[in-house]
Amino acid sequence: MSEPVVVVGGWASPFVTRVCIALKLKGVEYEFLQEAVGRKSELLLRSNPVHKKMPVLLHGGRPVCESLVILQYVDEVFPGSSILPADPYHRAVHRFWAEYADAKLHTALRTMRGMVGGDKADAAEQVSAALRQLEDALAECSGGKPYFGGDDFGFLDIVVGSYIGWFGAAEKIAGLRVLDEASTPRLAAWAARFCAHEAVRDLMPDADRLVEFGEVLRAALAANASCRP
């Protein structure tokens, strides 16, 4: 009998979205526990005492934390489509660009969305530069096929793809272009393809909804801050 799978997280987090996409790709049934905005549940804090962050995957009650660690765990434990490529060299390439994407995109996008302080134009330039690198990576990894993973999407598609909703939200809030067909045509086409995929469609947050969410989150965090002694 298979052990229950639970994801503790929030629909707006790209780190959570990527875990859900991976589980859907594998055809794994799971329970999604949505965290309250601006507040961490006791379950989250107990399951991830080190970082106190989402997502947490609970498999038969055992927690796995850190999204890239979770993705590899899901790939190794559940049968079905492979997420990481088979060849060790290509696996290293996917892992490299996944770490690069998280290092370059996450904080810069949060800056553009006004979630953290910083110059929005500088942040936009950092994101654009990173996307130009990922455009080249896409050409190399895909070898002309539709995805970083080749004929079907894989690890790197899921990691970079989990930011697509945020690209849209950042553009609306900052009024600055993020994913630009002119400078990164392959990536723009790939993004549309990725979002239309049946394993992604219902999980990719809508940009307008993310903009609204950002406002709700900011208000909740400000309320928490003003309550602290």
Binding site: V64, E66, L68, Q72, Y73, V77, P88, R91, A92, F96
Partner: protein
């Protein structure tokens, strides 16, 4: 015939050490190319244009593999020999989690705590470093090495800690850890650096002490300049 393996590194780097010890445990012959990071070679810049750092692994004709922990995973997957990561997927996830913890949460506070001039700022980093060391200490309960009875991936990931507790403590005259603190980590550092395969690719302690003593002023300058911008 086996494809040639080259490792671009630099003397005394714990990141390069991770790749070397992994290759040795797998029994993979390799050529070590040492870089002077104050004067980076065209070879390094060509093979790691994104980060311009070491280590870089060249395996046959393949484009370079960069980032030390990714190199260790590649070595584990590409070559036969004893496994470097645990076999069980949950244990693998734990090893990757703690390796990431060491990368993201330990490297910087330890480094800053060792080299900062400002006592107040240093105290903040020492506190953070010790909180993180307590978490690592708890991973060693009932185990000789992080990986179990023999060294593995998580030990390599933590090797910088052995450097901090040993060589760098001597060079800076700063022991971040009191004699009665973190006994399991201090014992691990001794056991790790004495382990046969590890020892074979670690420079002798006196050489490491001399190397870091020679760089002391340059490191202090860079770290304190960085601290001013924080």
């Amino acid at each position: 015939m086996a494809e040639p393996v080259k490792l671009i590194g630099t003397f005394g780097s714990p990141f390069v050490h991770r790749a070397e010890v992994a290759l040795r445990l797998k029994g993979v012959p390799y050529e070590l190319i040492l870089e002077d990071l104050t004067n980076k070679s065209e070879l390094l810049l060509r093979h790691n244009p994104i980060h311009k750092s070491v280590p870089v692994l060249l395996h046959g004709d393949r484009p370079a593999i960069c980032e030390s922990l990714l190199i260790v995973e590649y070595i584990d997957e590409a070559f036969d020999g004893p496994p470097l990561l645990p076999i069980d997927p949950y244990d693998r996830a734990m090893a990757r989690f703690w390796a990431q913890f060491i990368e993201q949460k330990c490297a910087k506070p330890f480094w800053m705590a060792l080299w900062l001039n400002d006592g107040d700022k240093r105290e903040v980093f020492v506190k953070e470093a010790k909180e993180n060391m307590a978490l690592l200490e708890s991973r060693l309960h009932g185990k000789r090495f992080f990986a179990g009875d023999t060294v593995g991936y998580l030990d390599f990931a933590a090797c910088g800690l052995a450097l901090v507790l040993g060589v760098l403590a001597e060079v800076t005259g700063l022991s971040l850890v009191g004699e009665d603190e973190f006994p399991l980590l201090r014992r691990w550092a001794d056991d790790y650096t004495s382990e046969e395969t590890v020892k074979a690719c670690l420079p002798p302690r006196e050489q490491l002490v001399a190397h870091f003593s020679g760089k002391k002023d340059r490191i202090k300058l860079a770290v304190n300049a960085m601290a001013c911008q924080m």
